[in-house]
Amino acid sequence: MTDTARQTLLRSLPASFETGPEWLRSLRARAADALREQGLPSKKTEAWRFTPVRSVVDAEFARAPGDAPALGSDVPEGVRARSLRAVLGSEPELLEGRLELAGPPEHFAALNTALFSDGLWIDVPAGTVVETPIEVTHAVARAGVSYPRVLVTTGESAELTIIETYTGAASDGLTNSVVELDLGPNAKVSHVRVHENAGMQVGRVDVRQAADSRYQSTVVTLGGALHRFDVRALLQGKGAECQLDGAYLVEGEDHVDHHTLVEHQAPYCRSDQTYRGIASGKGTTVFDGIVVVHRDAQKTEAHQENRNLLLSENATVHTKPHLEIDADDVVCSHGATVGSLDDDQLFYLRARGIPEDLAHAMLTFAFLESIVDRVRHEPTRARMREALLARIPHGDEIREVT
């Protein structure tokens, strides 16, 4: 058992939960009990081996006011976006059973479950196709801890693009977010996340997919004192597909950790993961991806790739893609590389007159941009490129020529 006594972050757990519907109070109490019992991860926790979790759990945080993310733009027609707090107040039965993360909550997700005060529920009814993305911004205004919570539900054959942006300059703030997505049969959701807050962030994305649904996630993580993201996609219905892509970049003493888990629980599902990272300065990146293929998930196709550029001697890259396969009729692949920029390419650019540092930046940008290019919605793609350019050396010059 973990020594939870030193985990300062847990001190904010109340002894009992007095507000909200009965099912929510019970859900929160179970989460709190589990936390008191098991604690948050410690440095001995395998899944946190490479990420200094103590700097999060043992730190003293004030509660930052307001967990509710802002809706960045006008809510597109066809989407219902409501405050979780409001729905829990007026029609709590609509949310019963939908904030449970498909299983007993653990660790930071449990903490969020116990403590979130507000959030968003985004719902697209069956048959509704929404072209315009809905934008959600989580701005971390000042130091302190916040617990953003988002629930996305889509009915049969509904289509939605959601863009989440996490921003904030406070390096000592902590954001502990949970986003749950429930995709109905044949629903299609494109989910873009841009993480550009300087502080600490722990985030969980939990996706449950019915038959023939399609989930596409594109994550761009631009540094951060300590960022840890867990994406879990459960392919529960036959023929569901998920595509998880990520581009990340560390410099200075940034620490970025992406964990993915894709569970093929039904036959004829496909999953495809491509994560690309750049480690410079004294930064550290972690990628840990698991694909689990259950016994009944025949005809599974699953691919997973993590490529890294290690650009400095003082930077560190950890990568561990792996597969656990219990079915026999499957096509799976996985791979990881850690390398440096290609000398032949660098020389080619320089031999044409491009200064060395700009040539470096161009190749670095191209490496990450290939991930952003997979986003189909053009204005979104452009915004993500901008976010990358803002962070890459010589971004202005690269923008100039592209």
Binding site: D342, D343, D344, Q345, F347, Y348, L349, R350, A351, R352, G353, I354, P355, E356, L358, A359, M362, L363, F365, A366, F367, E369, S370, E397, E400, V401, T402
Partner: protein, 250 residues
């Protein structure tokens, strides 16, 4: 324009060039021929400034300056262009955008204002037309998925755009069909002028039918064993390298 004196070069401790001397004046075209592995590409890379080629002896003077002191991009800015024997593909970096960055870096070095997008596109269209490089290829990632011949055409397109003073073309003819060869030769000839010089590396006389050289050098085992006029290339074609090497010098 270019003066190479007693150049010795090693790669990974292995001597490749063993005392090359060569002088190319403005307005001249020199051809370098020689068997596989004789050091032709090595010479080209040393001129362009590639790392890993250690000059153990000798010197290279270009426009009166010590070329070996300059980084590759400075050489390009001073007007040296290398047409690669094996152009590398650079996925994700668009041909046209990279060239714009290159041209503007070179212009900056010369104290000229950068070209804006419109002027650049105009120029690029004009130059692509010279080597009949389809528009689609100019926009694609650098050499990514290009056929062998398309890559070579792309090299000449880039040369036409950058207008170098000294072009070093390393087997630009290999992999080209007969029509493409003519197109590429036209591109090269269009650039010939009293201010420019060229070093054309080739295995075949047929390129030299189109790009007629002033001087032909035969490079064998890291040394220039023969130097002559365009007829030397014809003799090589007839008799092969061993005959020419063993024949008494002209």
């Amino acid at each position: 324009m270019l003066k190479i004196e007693d150049l010795h070069v090693e790669v990974e401790g292995k001597p490749i060039l063993k005392g090359i001397s060569l002088e190319v004046a403005a307005g001249e075209v020199h051809a370098i021929m020689g068997p596989n592995g004789s050091g032709k590409s090595t010479l080209a890379y040393v001129l362009a400034g590639r790392e890993g080629y250690e000059v153990t002896k000798g010197s290279i003077t270009y426009k009166g300056e010590d070329l070996l002191e300059m980084v590759p991009e400075a050489r390009a800015a001073e007007g040296i262009f290398l047409g690669f024997q094996y152009p590398v593909a650079i996925p994700g970096v668009s041909n046209i955008y990279f060239l714009k960055a290159a041209l503007n870096a070179i212009r900056k070095h010369r104290g000229q204002d950068p070209l804006d997008a419109i002027d650049f596109m105009k120029l690029s269209k004009e130059k692509a037309a010279i080597v009949q490089l389809p528009d689609e290829l100019t926009k694609r990632s650098v050499n990514d998925g290009f056929s062998g011949g398309e890559k070579k055409r792309n090299e000449i397109f880039q040369m036409a755009l950058l207008e170098p003073s000294l072009a070093v073309l390393d087997e630009t003819d290999s992999g080209l069909d007969i029509d493409a060869l003519k197109v590429v030769a036209q591109g090269v000839n269009a650039l010939r002028g009293p201010e420019r010089a060229m070093l054309v590396i080739t295995h075949y006389q047929r390129l030299l039918d189109h790009i007629v050289p002033d001087v032909v050098h035969v490079l064998i085992d890291g040394r220039i064993v023969r130097t002559g006029d365009k007829n030397l290339a014809k003799q090589l074609e007839r008799e092969g390298y061993s005959e020419v090497r063993d024949a008494p010098s002209l």
